[in-house]
């Protein structure tokens, strides 16, 4: 099970950049200064990409920790934190 947890970590390492790529591609495809819908609004895209980028970095770190076996054993007491 621990080996599987570690390999799964690699998947998260790949998924995070993919999500950001999809968001940026979505922004490029939908931003339209003449459009009237929310998805045409560049401000919304800037906010969303700005807030999702650190989250995606968090997913990369999570994947890295998982790959390194940091989650093989979870702490049982707060003193271990």
């Amino acid at each position: 099970m621990n080996a599987f947890k570690r390999y799964l970590g690699l998947l998260f390492l790949v998924l995070a950049p993919f999500f950001i790529y999809e968001l940026v591609a979505g922004a490029i495809a939908n931003i339209d200064m003449t459009g009237k819908k929310d998805i045409n609004n560049p401000v919304i895209w800037i906010i969303i990409i700005a807030i999702f980028t650190p989250i995606a970095i968090g997913l990369v770190i999570f994947g890295w920790y998982a790959f390194r076996g940091e989650y093989d054993q979870l702490p049982h007491r707060s003193k271990e934190l």
Binding site: F4, K5, L8, F12, L15, G26, A29, N30, K37, D38, I39, N41, V43, I44, I47, I48, A50, I51, F52, I55, G58, L59, I61, F62, Y65, A66, E70, Y71, L74, P75, H76, R77, S78, K79, E80, L81
Partner: protein, 510 residues
């Protein structure tokens, strides 16, 4: 080990914490629910600056300011104490909500109006970011070991009850006056904002009489509180990896399930199924009323069998059944546009709207009474007459709108929305106890607040926007917007199943 509080004390702790948190949710929701009227009063679309401020008010308050509020007030709560911190968030929230109801319109004071409203809305987001972690921590730190899930689940009902009260107050005010009076400059739409000050006043009075959490008081007396909770929470690897696990293995999926059940569903009924304004809201009200006790049930059960399986069960059910349930909504509200089995067709009503570009939109609405499907509805078509006479008139497809379901279908829809909210109760009921048990007392407020507000504010709050984005991109599938919550919940389910433990941490007194 600290003795847990007596039954009477814990009841008053729960009441004081829950009422205040519920009022904060109420305050936060009424802005969103009255967004159309608020836009007209403060953010006129023909002013680009006001339109930009409107976008910031809607998006920034939920996505940026809430997690930021979690950091600011979480830190304060771990330094100063839970009681005074979540008292401060309540005052901030109540004060800013009341003041939104007092701001003169754009017509009276120009661009100052949207700027003031934006600032007040940001304060609301900040306060909400600080409230939940404080309330959950405060109740959990008073609760007996074997009833932590049960007692904190009362806090979990507040977000849903806040929505329920916000919906109820708005419907009540709206039903007692004509639309023109409700939408007037100093009209009925302001009443829900003004009511807030009364509710907050009562809640502040109750909270002032409360004592500090016993666990935090002990830490403080021993001089063991954290000097820098932010650094300890996010720069210490052992704790940071638990913050990441809480976010990706539990709260991210909980956030999307929550928003899909309580917001996306109502929006879907109104904008995709074209059910009438009133029915789409009362369906949600009934479903919430029936489902709310289940928060308590799952919280109680989580004390017996652990938190993980209940939360993961809710996520899995959501992943598997979202599309069939929403497909049923569409299927049952599909009505014929031509060849109607109709009785007493009414003459068409014409509404002409002249746009800025001097083109005219002519909306024709014809009420029909369809006997067999159990739905009354109007048929609407919109033609565009261009100022440039050489351009041909643009005809839109006819569509059935303002659908009113008969009793049988209405209660079937209440049942289906109830199922969606039941999933919400499964993922949300045990989560406060789950988060509290993950982190030590000295940095608990900070550590649990951030993942909670990223999961709910960002992942959950984006359900409508990403749904819209997917629907606009892939136009052939009306259910395509569901792939976002399904995908996020599925990923969270996998992470939760693989990495979380079902073991209940009995001793949170460290």
């Amino acid at each position: 080990m600290i003795q847990s509080s007596s039954a009477k004390t814990i009841r008053s702790v729960i009441a004081a914490s829950s009422v205040g948190t519920m009022i904060e949710w109420y305050d936060f929701y009424i802005f969103g629910m009255l967004s159309t009227t608020i836009s007209a009063q403060f953010f006129p679309k023909d002013n680009p600056t006001a339109a930009l401020l409107s976008t910031l008010a809607i998006f920034a308050a939920g996505f940026i300011v809430r997690p930021f509020g979690a950091l600011v007030f979480g830190r304060l709560g771990d330094l100063v104490g839970r009681k005074y911190t979540f008292l401060l968030t309540l005052i901030l929230m109540g004060g800013s909500t009341f003041l939104i109801g007092c701001v003169p319109s754009y017509e009276s004071i120009g661009i100052a109006a949207p700027i003031i409203v934006l600032l007040l809305r940001l304060l609301q987001g900040l306060a909400l970011g600080g409230e939940y972690g404080g309330a959950a921590t405060y109740v959990a730190e008073h609760a007996p070991v074997n009833k932590r899930g049960y007692y904190t689940s009362w806090i979990q009902t507040t977000a849903t009850l806040g929505l329920f009260i916000a919906l109820g107050v708005i419907l009540l005010v709206k039903s007692n006056m004509p639309d023109a009076s409700f939408n007037a400059q100093w009209g009925g739409w302001r009443y829900p904002f003004w009511i807030s000050i009364l509710l907050v006043g009562i809640s502040i009075y109750i909270r002032l009489k409360m004592k500090e959490s016993p666990m935090f008081s002990k830490l403080k007396a021993e001089g063991k509180t954290s000097v820098n909770p932010l650094k300890e929470s996010f720069r210490k690897k052992a704790n940071f990896k638990m913050v990441l696990l809480a976010l990706f293995g539990a709260v991210m999926g909980q956030g999307v399930v929550w928003y899909t059940g309580q917001f996306y569903a109502q929006n879907f009924l109104e904008t995709k199924c074209f059910i009438s304004f009133e029915q789409s809201r009362t369906i949600l009200l009934w479903a919430i009323a029936f489902a709310t006790p289940f928060f308590i049930l799952w919280g109680w059960l989580s004390d017996k069998i652990g938190r993980k399986w209940i939360m993961m069960g809710g996520m899995l059910l959501a992943v598997v059944t979202y599309r069939p349930i929403f497909q049923l909504f569409l299927q049952d509200t599909t009505v014929p546009i031509t060849g109607l089995n109709e009785k007493n067709p009414q003459p068409g009503i014409e509404k002409i709207t002249v746009t800025r570009e001097n083109d005219s939109l002519i909306t024709t609405t014809t009420p029909h009474y369809h006997i067999n499907a159990g739905i009354n509805y109007d048929i609407q078509s919109t033609d565009t007459v261009y100022a440039d006479k050489s351009k041909a008139i643009g005809h839109s497809k006819e569509k059935a709108v303002n659908k009113k379901l008969d009793s049988g279908l209405y209660w079937k829809f209440v049942g289906l929305v109830f199922i969606l909210i039941l999933y919400v109760t499964m993922v949300y009921g045990p989560i406060a106890a789950f988060l509290v048990e993950m982190f030590p007392t000295r940095i608990r407020y900070t550590s649990m607040s951030l993942p909670y507000h990223i999961g709910n504010g960002v992942f959950g709050g984006l359900v409508p926007f990403i749904g819209l984005l997917l629907t606009s991109t892939y136009t052939t599938d009306p259910l395509v917007g569901l792939w976002y919550p399904i995908g996020v919940a599925a990923l969270c389910f996998i992470i939760g199943m693989m990495y979380l433990t079902n073991k209940i941490d009995r001793n949170i007194n460290d």
